[in-house]
């Protein structure tokens, strides 16, 4: 019996091809058993995540992990169902009409036959049974990933933007940083609070607990900001008063003003948003008794510094969605003080009395120069609020009196006074700040 290693090798190679085909077939058959349910579940999860506006990354990651593990399981399962070499050779025998010559040669009882030029494998893929499960799995995933969602979902997605209060607070903190008005430690603490809130899952941003926390933080920040703003403005007004009327101040007044200044400095330094070290230290070294020793330039510089701080604070509050205003009590207190100081004074040198205060001095309201005011901050606008005041003219009847009985006898001026008289520059400024 002639034994040809070349033929043997060639036939064994053909048998191995068959064996691999069958093993791959079994692997695929096992793999499909997990592929379809896995893809269906993945598709369901994808749809759910898309509806809830979550991230699909983890779903894909899990799906990939599942496929990897299941592929390994399929390998293990299919390895037990492989085609042995004699079985593969037997199939070749039948296919080529060799009457089990190859198997006999494999068993060593016959010579290996010559290898034909072309050996057509007796087995092949059954594509109609192979492709549909894979296509179905792909369709499921495609459906879940590309299905257009209703427009309502888009609206929901918009709602998932972070709460406006956070954005405004962040803008407020950023403005304070730029203005260097507040000590950096306080701002960092505020930023940490914001960061803690932002780190929460998106779906919790609008839950009751988060909103309550946000509201508390917001109120606290606003309270601190207003305290700081008020203290700055009062300090500015106090110093302005002390500098302009330093000769008229009695000892009691000076003591009263020193006490007020001390209270204001306490507010500035012990506030939740404490004034920056630099400004605070300069104010703390200020002594009202020493004011007369200061040159007018120094006084002006000090006044300018405070005015700038006030303006900067006002802009920060506007940036943070907190329109600035002067506390009513403080305003009344200052007006009372100014009234005391302004008695017998020159109207041209002092701001004068409030236009609505009955005094013997006619207020200079500059009512003949009306200008437009508007309030661009719509965040707190409500129905019925005044949004804009524009320059315009009232249509006033100019006809003379003496009409028929029952006609208008006098034109009157009360209402006209209100809109024709203009405010003093400082009052205009504050009003502008209010509406800004």
């Amino acid at each position: 019996m002639s034994e040809s290693p070349v033929f043997r090798e060639a036939w064994i190679r053909h048998a191995a091809v068959l064996s691999r085909l069958v093993r791959a077939g079994w692997w695929w058959a096992w793999f499909v058993k997990g592929l379809l349910p896995g893809s269906a579940l993945c598709g369901l999860a994808l749809l759910t995540v898309r509806i809830l506006d979550g991230s699909a990354y983890n779903i894909w990651l899990l799906y990939g992990l599942f496929l990897t593990i299941w592929a390994w399981v399929a390998i293990r399962k299919s390895s037990a169902q492989r085609l042995s070499e004699p079985q593969a050779l037997s199939r070749l025998d039948v296919s080529l009409g060799f009457h089990h010559r190859l198997v006999s040669a494999y068993d060593g009882v016959a010579a290996w036959p010559e290898v034909p030029v072309r050996v057509i494998p007796p087995l092949r893929w059954n594509l109609p049974a192979t492709l549909p499960p894979a296509a179905l799995a792909a369709c499921l995933l495609l459906f879940a990933a590309a299905l257009p969602l209703p427009a309502a979902r888009e609206e929901l997605r918009i709602e998932r933007e972070e709460p406006v209060a956070w954005t405004e607070t962040a803008a407020f903190v950023e403005a304070l940083k730029r203005g260097e008005l507040v000590q950096p430690e306080a701002l960092e603490s505020l930023e940490k609070q914001l960061e803690t809130l932002r780190e929460k899952p998106r779906e919790e941003w609008y839950r009751q607990g988060t909103l309550e926390t946000t509201e508390q933080m917001r109120q606290q920040v606003e309270r601190d900001a207003r305290t700081l703003q008020r203290a700055l403005e009062e300090t500015s007004a106090l110093l302005g008063l002390a500098m302009s009327r330093q000769e008229q101040l009695t000892a009691d007044m000076r003591e009263q003003m020193t006490s007020m200044l001390q209270d204001l400095l306490n507010d500035l330094g012990e506030n939740g948003l404490p004034l920056s070290e630099d400004l605070l230290s300069r104010l703390q070294t200020l002594d009202l008794d020493q004011l007369p020793q200061m040159t007018p330039e120094q006084q002006q510089q000090l006044q300018n510094m405070l005015d700038q701080a006030c303006e900067s604070m006002g802009q920060c509050m506007i940036a943070g969605g907190m329109p600035g205003t002067l506390d009513a009590d403080t305003l009344a207190e200052l007006l009372a003080l100014m009234e005391i100081l302004g008695a017998g004074g020159n109207p041209g040198e002092t701001p004068g009395a409030s236009p609505l205060t009955f005094t013997d001095q006619h207020p200079e309201l500059a009512a003949n120069n009306p200008f437009a005011l508007n309030n661009p901050d719509m965040s707190r606008a409500a129905l019925g609020d005044l949004l804009q005041v524009t320059e315009g003219e009232h249509e006033v009847e100019t006809g003379t009196a003496g009409g028929p009985a029952g006609a208008l006898g006098s034109e009157g001026r009360a209402g006209e006074t209100v809109w024709r008289d203009s405010l003093l520059p400082d009052e205009e400024k504050r009003l502008q700040q209010y509406f800004q």
Partner: protein, 345 residues
């Protein structure tokens, strides 16, 4: 060939040995075809049965050449052939032989007188006409190639073949062979009626009352050598596995085709199937048996071993048809294919 035969009983056959054996068998075929016209497939099956040392049950209508086949076979193979006509009054001793009281050396002794079973080729004609007791007398002879009488064992000549015939009609007064008896027959062959061309040839070449003369083409010793050669035909594991699955599928509940089977084939059937497959391979000058060999002889081996249930018999089902269904149902290749892989047609 004799020298190489005795070298080893397990060495695979060489091409020369296969060709020599094939040539002899071809001569036997040709000689038999000269006697029995148009029965090439039947003659092949008979030769396979003889090479496998199996016994043969022939079923067919009278006059189809059953007796002629046996006579020709004996003549061609140089075997001593005897014919026993089974009748209801036939006794076991009429077949196996009887001890007769004789005077030997001045003493009266029972001396065994061998019956007609003591021959190489025994034709049991119309075996189903004898009583079960008489039919069973052949059991020991067929299985163990010996006869026991009065405690004495008498070995039958080798080779020993039983060729029984039975008539599928005229079943009145017959005794169907019991399963144990049927299982001893390796093959059951059905002799089909001849076509007009074959009949014309018979008419032209044969005359009524004249026996056909068949020349002897094989010596008795050569037949034994050929029978020994079948043992050296390789039976691959895959083929053995196919035989096992095929026989197992005959058991009730093991396949769709076995739904109407009451009792399936025995292990003896599986052994016979393997032996017959080897013999067929030798007949076709191949060193190994194959699926084709098993498929070719499976109906002949299985059909008479399948005991059908009552309903199947009422519906006219036959063992041959069920054997065909089994061949269709049981795949030759072991190992299930995955659904995504299919055989190339």
């Amino acid at each position: 060939m004799s020298a190489s035969l005795t070298d080893s009983l397990t060495d695979p056959l060489t091409d020369d040995q296969l060709n020599a054996a094939g040539g002899k068998l071809e001569a036997v075929r040709k000689a038999l075809n000269e006697v029995l016209f148009g029965q090439e497939a039947l003659i092949d099956q008979v030769l396979i049965c003889l090479l496998s040392r199996g016994h043969l049950l022939l079923e067919g209508l009278p006059g189809l050449g059953k007796t002629e086949l046996v006579r020709a076979l004996g003549s061609v193979l140089g075997l001593e052939a005897k014919r026993i006509q089974f009748t209801p009054d036939l006794l076991p001793g009429d077949i196996t032989g009887n001890p007769l009281l004789q005077e030997v050396d001045g003493q009266r002794k029972f001396v065994f007188q061998p019956g007609p079973v003591f021959a190489n080729l025994v034709l049991a004609d119309e075996i189903n006409r004898a009583s079960p007791k008489t039919q069973s007398s052949l059991l020991e002879a067929m299985q163990e190639h010996r006869v026991t009488s009065m405690g004495e064992r008498h070995i039958l000549p080798a080779p020993f073949f039983v060729m029984a015939t039975q008539n599928p009609i005229e079943l009145e007064g017959t005794y169907p062979l019991p399963e144990a008896q049927l299982d001893r027959f390796l093959f059951k062959l059905n002799i089909e009626a001849n076509g007009p061309e074959v009949l014309q040839r018979i008419v032209q070449q044969r005359r009524l009352g004249e026996d056909a003369n068949s020349p002897q083409v094989l010596a008795q010793g050569e037949l034994l050598e050929l029978m020994a050669l079948t043992h050296r035909i390789h039976l691959p594991d895959v083929v053995a596995n196919y035989i096992a699955r095929l026989v197992y599928a005959t058991q009730p509940g093991q396949s769709k085709a076995s739904a109407c089977i009451k009792y399936g084939a025995s292990p003896r059937a599986a052994i016979g199937l393997a032996a017959a497959a080897r013999s067929r391979a030798l007949l076709h000058r191949r060193p190994n048996a194959s699926y084709e060999d098993v498929r070719a002889i499976a109906p002949s081996v299985l059909q008479h071993r399948l005991v059908l249930d009552y309903h199947a018999r009422l519906e006219g089902m036959t063992g041959q048809r069920i054997a065909g269904d089994l061949l269709t149902e049981v795949p030759a290749h072991a190992g299930e294919l995955p659904p995504v892989v299919r055989e190339r047609i």
